[in-house]
């Protein structure tokens, strides 16, 4: 069935909440308003306000509350209206959710999903347009997922909810309305499995979340020039499926990594380092990164466009890589 990304998330949570009443949804506007982006449409009607909890605008408080509920045996899903506001909950996520299992010597677990949109939408300004996945990926104890398609979003969210660890699940405002085929019936997608979204032999493009759609678009344009790009979506950013990425690089000999986040210490830097360590001898050219600009997101449309990877930028990077190679 062809459904939007937000509906895939809705189905995933609905199916899981029907399956297990330890699961509850908590966050700003998730209940009566049905979610700032309507992801939890119909949830209060089905599950009641005991399991779908509207909170005050206190991210540290309600995220901490959810973590406390998780160590007592519940399975919370925390919706952050956006991950920008998750910065207010970073103490809870980094100091408590990520560390409680280790600090307790394995006595306690924190089965919690913290989800919501990351990255830029359109002209929302510097405080509402951030791609912070690298921050979370840096922290031992967290898993990080950033699905691009409705199919992956549904299957991975179900896996995240069933996981016994804290999972950061990053969506995107500009993906909520995008449609895709989702398989009928029950399915999950394992955490930590990348997928080759397009086969190719000349160059590998690694991209996730919104940037995957851009990479696929660019790959079609490149095909007209006779360049066959293989597009790999890690889907899970931590733990990273390095084997699938290096497998592709060993075939193509070239790698472009596209990410919307800031360049310095961005996720692509880690992916590049890992690929260099594992597959250096297979590379015909240095790895190229296409990233967001190292600036707070500007409001003005032309400046915002310039701060985010676009079609021309990725095309140019690939052409340069091919031309400069063998």
């Amino acid at each position: 069935m062809l459904i939007p990304y937000r509906e895939a998330l809705n189905q995933a949570m609905r199916e899981e909440m029907r399956r297990d009443d330890r699961i509850f949804l908590i966050g700003e506007e998730v209940g009566h308003y049905q979610g700032a982006f309507k992801v939890s449409k119909g949830f209060v009607e089905e599950f009641g306000s005991q399991r779908v909890l509207d909170t005050p605008i206190t991210e540290a408080g309600f995220t901490g509350l959810a973590i406390g509920a998780a160590i007592a045996g519940l399975h919370p899903i925390v919706e952050l209206m956006t991950f920008n506001f998750g910065i207010l909950a970073l103490d809870q996520i980094v100091n408590n959710a990520a560390k409680i299992r280790y600090m307790s010597g394995g006595q306690l677990s924190v089965p919690i999903v913290i989800r919501g949109p990351g990255s830029a939408a359109h002209q929302l300004g510097a405080q509402h347009s951030q791609s912070l996945e690298a921050w979370f990926c840096h922290v031992p104890g967290l898993k990080v997922i950033a699905p691009a398609t409705p199919h992956d979003a549904k299957g991975l969210l179900k896996s995240a909810v069933r996981d016994q660890n804290p999972v950061i699940f990053i969506e995107a405002q500009l993906l909520y309305g995008t449609k895709g085929e989702v398989q009928e019936g029950e399915y999950t997608i394992p955490i930590g499995q990348a997928e080759v979204k397009r086969q190719g032999k000349d160059v590998t493009i690694v991209a996730y979340s919104k940037m995957l759609l851009l990479a696929l678009e660019v790959a079609e344009l490149l095909a007209r020039e006779g360049i066959e790009a293989e597009v790999v979506d890690p889907r899970t950013l931590k733990p990273l499926d390095l084997a699938t990425i290096t497998g592709s690089v060993k075939k193509t000999g070239r790698l472009v990594i596209v990410e919307e986040g800031w360049r310095f210490a961005g996720l692509g830097a880690q992916i590049a380092e890992s690929v260099y360590a594992e597959a250096f001898d297979y590379l015909d050219a240095p790895i190229v990164r296409v990233t967001g600009a190292d600036v707070p997101m500007p409001y003005a449309r032309p400046l915002e466009d310039a701060a985010i990877p676009d079609r021309e930028g990725v095309l140019a990077a690939v052409r340069q890589l091919i031309k400069g190679g063998h």
Partner: protein, 321 residues
């Protein structure tokens, strides 16, 4: 007053006192490292409050957590081994002094970011209410946490959703080296600050274990009967520095002040009560002293003789399988 009952309370406080004194010695001998925050002077609060709850109720604490952990019934040997960083410690040596956890006793941990565990406490209480159980949560913290944002977010949620959590504020008047008078507006009325959230609040003499327990029993009865948060300010004084890195007096408080406060030692006060009532003799206290020093000596011996965690433990327990 019941003799057995009074001696039980005294015994628990004495265990903590002697445990903490030996911990300080072990720190001096470099058997214990890192930060070590001693509970000496504040024993009546953990012992009095935990004596008012059930074994299946939850307790959660901050970084000065040895007393609460022991009062909840944890094995002193396992606690000492954790302070030593040994594989036989409560947390296999991965937590340390500030992060004791004893899950099977529902001691849900010591947390070392000031104010950060108050939301966790409301979450434990949320889980209890969600599952329609009748446990409650005791959350201990110092007065230094009271002005923090996370504390007020937790107070608001606990009051909003009527969660069964009792916030026990151990007001020892110093947030590390900053006196309460320089750190908290309305410092003389912490209970009043929290009442503003719609939470009932009381103040009690935290040096008087019987007063603490009496108040806590009343509070526990109310919270058990009708889930709601409660705030109890227990006034106290830590006889030692903030941590072992900090002298008992000098920079921010005078020797005279510390000595004066030591005159209200919670152990001495209970001992006087027992003696005044004619319920105990010198011999009783001597026997208890001997018993506690044996327990603590055994704990030190156990910790000392236990192995450090193997190198292979490093990457275990980061994730649940």
């Amino acid at each position: 007053m019941d003799r057995e009952d009074l001696f039980t309370l005294y015994r628990r406080m004495l265990l903590i006192r002697r445990f903490e004194e030996r911990s300080a010695e072990m720190y001096a001998l470099a058997k214990i490292a890192g930060f070590l925050h001693l509970y000496i002077g504040e024993e009546a609060i953990a012992v009095g409050a935990i004596a008012a709850i059930r074994a299946d109720d939850y307790v959660i604490s901050a970084y000065r957590d040895h007393g609460h952990c022991l009062a909840k019934g944890s094995d002193p040997s396992q606690v000492m081994a954790e302070l030593f960083g040994k594989a036989t410690g409560l947390c296999k040596g991965k937590g340390g002094s500030m992060h004791l956890v004893d899950a099977k006793r529902n001691f849900m941990g010591g947390y070392a970011i000031v104010g950060g565990h108050l939301p966790l406490a409301t979450g434990l209480a949320f889980a209890v209410k969600y599952q329609k159980r009748d446990q409650l949560v005791l959350c201990f913290f110092g007065e230094g946490a009271v002005p923090s944002g996370q504390a007020h977010e937790a107070f608001n949620l606990a009051a909003l959703w009527k969660l069964p959590v009792i916030f026990v504020c151990e007001n020892n008047r110093y947030a590390m080296g900053t006196p309460i008078t320089r750190g908290i507006a309305l410092y003389s009325d912490l209970a009043g600050k929290v009442r503003a959230h719609g939470i009932q609040a009381e103040t009690v003499d935290g040096m008087d274990v019987l007063a603490v327990r009496t108040l806590m029993k009343t509070v526990v009865r109310k919270v058990r009967a009708e889930p709601q948060p409660y705030f109890v300010e227990a006034t106290t004084y830590r006889f030692m520095g903030h941590s072992m890195a900090d002298p008992a007096h000098g920079h921010y408080r005078t020797k005279e002040e510390v000595e004066e406060e030591r005159g209200r030692d919670p152990l001495v006060l209970l001992r006087q009560t027992i003696m005044n009532q004619g319920l105990g003799t010198e011999a009783d206290f001597k026997r208890l002293e001997r018993e506690m020093s044996e327990i603590v000596a055994a704990a030190v011996k156990f910790a000392d003789e236990s192995p450090f965690p193997a190198r292979t433990a490093l990457e275990k327990d980061v994730y649940s399988e």
